[in-house]
Amino acid sequence: MSASAEATVLITHEVGLHARPSVKFTKLAKTFSADVEVALAANGPWFDAKSIVKVMAAKAPKGTVLHIRARGDGAGEAVGALAELVRRDFDEGVDHARTA
């Protein structure tokens, strides 16, 4: 039996889940062995959270409620850590939001 977990979190970052935030997000996702996916709605479509191409393709702007789900070893930790990263605004203050 494999573990699974889910969470939802509001994106408050100025430019949304885009270039720089998505680099941080996918890097963190890759540190977990569980399969992790994200979606902009509870019923999907779901995107591979370890692929920056897929995460960018989700086009999640500021104000989006991001759904995160994981399956496999450490699923709970993975979902918790990723949701926390979004909640911490990807460790960037609004003052530092650049357009890069």
Binding site: E14, V15, G16, H18, A19, R20, S22, V23, T26, K27, D48, S51, I52, V53, K54, M56, A57, K59, P61, K62, G63, V94, D95, A97, R98, T99, A100
Partner: protein, 528 residues
């Protein structure tokens, strides 16, 4: 000896460079096909490895925005989701270069068609990724630029800029490009001369070129006299710039002790990242056209952009100009095609003709006003009725926000003085909160000389007595009526025009950030 050829562009990073022209748009590099699919796969693998290695090396020499761009590109190249389709095409019999190009073009198209500005801008990064791998695949055809070269072409990739050694001089001259691009930002921070917007070239260009990125021009096949004059301008610029740096931190004061307020012009919220707020009196002009790309921006996007700049400026004023589309700034789905766009439906005329678009901007401004010291001005006002109608829309939208319980504040509402009718008869505008003279448009309308037409550039001078007389009369009207008057055109940052502007009675100038130190130095030299 061929005739000298002069092209006009827009300065994106001031400075001078003399050197051989290096063509950035190479003839399509040839890729030598391999015998088997396995070899094609290996070739692509190797090329991706080379591109990733180069980016990694660049990251170590970069910081801030530059490092962020590179890190994003590396993450993309390391993602199987990006490279997978190319390898699948190779397995199906495609050569490596075609497979890679197709896979990346599909990805790029997805970005280009996005309805979000930010996302669309990433298409340039994706093209950069594509071209780096293609370069690695076709390595031998890649010619290295000579030291001190002036890079000339459609556009230049950020990585190309970063891997170039600028210590021996050189510069950038682009047919397209933008002063708000990543590369322009990098060029300004490293002091690399750069001009954009040269337009299509009349012929294949080569040879020694003189790049004047202070005034925005380039000369090819220069005459001896031109080279000598250029070198004099160049060393005078270097001397002025070195001296000017010592003025940056100080308030602007003339020789006679007259204080002058110097603010800065910005075209994009990210422009403020490179400015120390203590070196200027605020933002004298924030353009909002950057928000109006391929689609019209929603209220939230605008609100966030305005708020960012207001919070950065703190107590200091930020003067935001409502959208000045039309003229030489078309916006698909908003502006109209006209035979004579500079005299047509542009600026406030267009905003009043499309109130549903204008109201969105007004709501965003009213909401952002609570986050700082906001002032708002309308471009291209010709008659008082336009101002009254714009003010009425602000009042209506404010009432709507109040009714919904949304935090808002009415900012002081002023006008641009750029249509001669306002400069000639300012008394019709005794009720505006402030005047901001747009010297670029005022000059082109007074002199009937389009500012984007090089053949009438000699007429386009703010120092013509007719233009200066109008500026002086607006300044005098403002003093008499206690209405603040400032100037936010290019002339405000031009050391050669500053004495005449102060003489005309102006004490409030707004300049592009790169000219801030030079403008303060020029002010210190005036004995008014």
């Amino acid at each position: 000896m061929p005739e000298p050829l002069r092209l006009k562009g827009i300065s994106a990073s001031a400075g001078y460079a003399e050197g051989p022209l290096f063509n950035l748009d190479p003839v399509a590099a040839r890729y030598a096909g391999k015998a088997t699919a396995a070899e094609e796969k290996a070739a692509l693998d190797t090329a991706i490895g080379i591109a990733t290695g180069r980016l990694t090396a660049l990251i170590e020499a970069s910081e801030g925005d530059a490092a962020d761009i590179l890190e994003f590109q590396i993450a993309m190249l390391e993602d199987d989701a990006l490279t997978g389709p190319a390898f699948a095409a190779i397995a199906a019999g495609q050569p490596a270069d075609a497979a890679w190009r197709q896979a990346l073009d599909a990805e790029i198209a997805g970005y280009e068609t996005s309805d979000q500005d930010y996302f669309r801008a990433r298409a340039a990064d994706m093209r950069d990724i594509r071209d780096q791998v293609l370069r690695a695949l076709t390595e031998d055809s890649e010619a290295a630029a000579p030291a001190g070269a002036i890079f000339y072409g459609e556009d230049i990739a950020p990585t190309r800029f970063l891997e170039t050694n600028w210590s021996s001089g050189g510069g950038i001259a682009l047919k397209a490009g933008s002063a708000a691009s990543h590369v322009a930002m990098l060029a300004r921070s490293r002091g690399v001369p750069m001009i954009v917007g040269l337009g299509a070239s009349p012929a294949h260009l080569a040879g020694i070129a003189l790049l004047d990125a202070e005034h925005g021009g380039i000369v090819l096949s220069p005459s001896k006299a031109e080279i000598e004059a250029f070198r004099r301008s160049s060393s005078s610029f270097t001397a002025r710039r070195d001296k000017a740096q010592t003025y940056l931190e100080r308030p602007a004061v003339t020789k006679a002790g007259t204080a002058v307020r110097v603010q800065v012009n910005i075209a994009d919220p990210s422009d403020v990242d490179g400015i120390d707020i203590s070196t200027c009196e605020g933002i004298g002009l924030m353009r909002t056209e950057f928000l109006f790309g391929k689609t019209l921006p929603d209220e939230e996007t605008q609100y966030c952009a305005y708020r960012k700049v207001l919070e950065w400026a703190g107590e200091k004023p930020v003067t935001i100009r409502t959208v000045d589309a039309g003229g030489d700034k078309p916006v698909p789905g908003f502006t109209v095609d006209e035979g004579n766009p500079f005299l047509g439906l542009r600026g406030i005329r267009l905003s009043l003709a499309r109130p549903e678009v204008f109201r969105v901007q007004i709501r965003a401004l009213l909401r952002a006003a609570v986050h700082g010291n906001l002032k708002v001005m309308f471009p291209m006002i010709a008659v008082a009725d336009e101002y009254e109608r714009a003010v009425a829309l602000f009042t209506e939208e404010q009432a709507g926000l109040v009714a919904r319980g949304v935090a808002q504040k009415m900012p002081p509402l002023g006008i641009m003085v750029e249509v001669p009718s306002v400069a000639i008869a300012p008394e019709a505008f005794a009720n505006v909160a402030f005047f901001s003279i747009g010297s670029n448009d005022l000059t082109q309308y007074v002199m009937a000389a389009a500012r984007d037409n090089a053949s009438v550039a000699h007429l386009n001078s703010v120092r013509h007595p007719a233009v200066l007389r109008l500026i002086a009369s607006v300044a005098a009207f403002g003093r008499a009526q206690k209405i603040p008057v400032s100037l936010c055109g290019d002339a405000g940052g031009d050391p050669a025009s500053i004495p005449a502007l102060l003489e005309a009675g102006l004490r409030d100038l707004s300049v592009v950030p790169a000219q801030l130190a030079m403008a303060k130095a020029a002010i210190a030299d005036v004995s008014i």
